[in-house]
């Protein structure tokens, strides 16, 4: 119970920080101040809050869980590719979003699309698709909070109460503090979870009997030696993952965060230190996730090994539902929590648990982004801002924050977590495939609103098609994928144990390439925006 109490104290501190601390720095009560912190964030807050915004519940719990099951490949798949693509995206695209946003006073990406491509309702379609892809993240945040508090309290705090506490905490500081409160909380949380990795590695390494012995033991066992190399993963699958971080430049909450920087120079430190921040948090989590396979003296981990072995030996004879149950038992999302429970003193487990909560509560910026998008792209665009004024816009944003939190909490109580894990998986692919939209708007004069509409509809259709395919075709047993459609002996579409593959690649690759192609072809075939609009964005006579 002590760790849970420390976590609750931490949540109280977060509310204080998000609600009261920023009041001293507030410049006014207008929309720009509430939604963008008055475009005034300095370099340190900008770096840490942007990084904290991008990292989610998946960072600590999911990364170590994935590494527990799949080995060291997790780092190459998700961390080192993000460490290259995300800062590069911020350098090339984020800086331009900042400049255009500041120049024309935009608060959301859709405002930029509407102005850049001289369109109205097409912007509303883009808003709807972005919102649909973003909502699962918010629900996952509530679920992660409920699960973590339940685990840290040894089951004394039920899931529904843990989820409610996290939802209320996030809602409070987003409601009262707006972007400024969210940025301050994110900065504090990022510092906390960045220090989590080093402390956890040192502590667990000392108590587990030293990592060299653990690594040798894993290598000497046939069932775990492959976890220390990447022999189970194909090169094409590994390559596919480099497309997923493209989602960062299309995420509305990241684009909106780019608008909060006081000066362009704030991006300098952010893009240089971003890969190092990723290294600081992902390397310990992935390494500990792999090493957890050695901690079979922990009953929870031993049970996971049993389920994994049964899955490997009996998979062909098991019904899909039984396979799913075994997969859930073998999943490693809680291995870090189990390691802390076993090896850390109670008070330290509580502090480290707070570090985990810091990563879990990343849904704040997504809630604020959706609220900003609704008030700007729907409420203000369809005339209510002129009718009711600036203050009404901020009030609407706050009411939307409450509604969204209530909906996310209600859904989190009713729906199984696995559904939203999959939804988040689709969302990453969806936003990566929307990246050509942002790039075309900022770099290609000839791009048109019809190209943008084609890309948006294609992404919505492709995400729905992959979701439907995975719902209709049960996941294959561990091992080779089940080929559903092949042409000329080449497997085109296959169902894998974890998802879908197209020509041996993740769906995100064809989705993104087709998006880019659609933008080019449809834009070429349709009338470009007026000269005056192009001049405002790209200069020239």
């Amino acid at each position: 119970m002590i760790p849970a109490l420390i976590v609750l104290l931490y949540l109280a501190l977060v509310v204080w920080l998000g609600v009261f601390a920023p009041r001293k720095a507030r410049h006014g009560n207008d929309a720009e101040d509430y939604f963008l912190a008055g475009r005034s964030l300095g370099p340190v807050v900008f770096l840490f809050s942007l990084f904290g915004t991008h990292m989610t519940a998946f960072t600590i719990l999911g990364a170590s869980g994935h590494a527990f099951s799949n080995g060291i490949v997790t780092y190459g798949l998700m961390a080192s590719s993000s460490g290259l693509v995300v800062p590069l995206g911020l350098f090339l695209v984020g800086t331009r979003i900042w400049a255009v946003g500041k120049k024309f006073g935009f608060l959301t990406p859709v405002q930029m699309f509407r102005d850049r491509w001289e369109c109205g309702h097409i912007g509303t379609v883009i808003f709807a698709v972005q919102a649909a892809l973003l909502v699962p993240y918010i629900i996952i945040g509530v679920m992660g909070g409920g699960t973590a508090i339940r685990a840290l309290s040894g089951g004394l705090v039920p899931y529904w109460l843990g989820g409610a506490v996290v939802a209320l905490t996030v809602m409070s500081y987003v409601f009262f503090g707006g972007m400024r409160g969210t940025a301050w909380v994110n900065t504090f949380q990022t510092m906390l979870f960045l220090s989590f990795g080093a402390i956890a590695v040192g502590l667990i390494g000392a108590r587990i009997g030293g990592f060299p012995a653990a690594a040798e033991a894993l290598l000497s066992s046939e069932s775990t030696s492959a976890l220390l190399s990447r022999e189970r993963v194909s090169g094409a699958y590994f390559f596919s993952y480099t497309f997923l971080p493209l989602s960062a430049i299309a995420f509305p909450h990241i684009s909106i965060f780019c608008l909060t920087a006081r000066r362009l120079a704030q991006f300098r430190m952010t893009v240089i230190l971003y890969p190092l921040c990723i290294l600081a948090i992902w390397l310990p989590c992935v390494f500990l996730g792999v090493m957890a396979n050695h901690a079979t003296d922990i009953p929870g981990i031993a049970a996971k090994h049993e389920a994994r072995q049964q899955l490997a030996s009996d998979a062909a004879t098991l019904a899909p539902q039984q396979r799913n149950q075994l997969r859930a038992k073998a999943a490693g999302e809680d291995v870090i929590l189990l390691l802390l429970e076993r090896y850390a003193p109670l008070w330290l487990a509580g502090i480290l648990g707070a570090g985990i909560m810091a990563a879990v509560m990343a849904s704040d910026s997504q809630i604020l982004a959706l609220s900003t998008m609704f008030t700007e792209d729907v409420f203000a665009y369809y005339g209510h801002k002129e009718r009711f004024g600036d203050a009404a816009q901020v009030h609407t944003g706050r009411v939307f924050v409450i509604l969204l939190t209530l909906i996310a909490y209600t859904v989190a109580l009713k729906a199984p977590a696995s559904i939203f894990d999959i939804a988040v998986q689709y969302a990453f692919s969806g936003f990566a495939a929307l990246a050509p939209l942002v790039i075309a708007a900022l770099f290609w004069k000839r791009s048109t609103k019809w190209g943008a509409l084609a890309v948006t509809l294609w992404v919505a259709l492709a995400v729905a098609a992959v979701a439907l395919f995975q719902a209709l075709v049960p996941a294959s047993p561990p091992g080779p994928a089940s080929v559903v459609w092949s042409a000329g002996g080449i497997p085109v579409l296959a169902r894998t144990a974890a998802g879908t593959s197209v020509f041996g690649l993740l769906p995100v690759v064809p989705m993104t390439l087709i998006s880019a192609l659609l933008m080019w072809v449809v834009s070429r075939l349709t009338r470009p925006p007026g000269r005056e609009t192009v001049r405002r964005y790209f200069g020239g006579a």
Binding site: Y75, P212, R263, I272, P275, V286, R536
Partner: protein
């Protein structure tokens, strides 16, 4: 585009290609520092290289003109 920018683009492409380190694909050994599998150590170094590349981009290709561009449009250009 200046020649320097072409060179930087090449550096970026090279680093992107180096992500696909097929040479360490099936190897766990050597264990660096006695416990870190070589594939994981390579990708940790890759993150350091990414930071170095971003430093190079900031130093040699910083889009300083954007600061100037972002300053005030004519009032009629401001949309919100």
């Amino acid at each position: 585009m200046p020649r320097r920018h072409w060179l930087l683009a090449l550096v970026v492409l090279l680093l992107y290609a180096l992500h696909q380190d097929f040479w360490f694909w099936r190897a766990a050994r050597p264990l660096v520092f006695g416990f870190l599998p070589v594939g994981l150590f390579y990708h940790a170094c890759y993150s350091l290289a990414a930071a170095a590349m971003m430093w190079l981009l900031v130093r040699c290709a910083w889009p300083a003109h954007l600061e100037q561009d972002s300053r005030g449009p004519a009032p009629e250009d401001r949309r919100t």
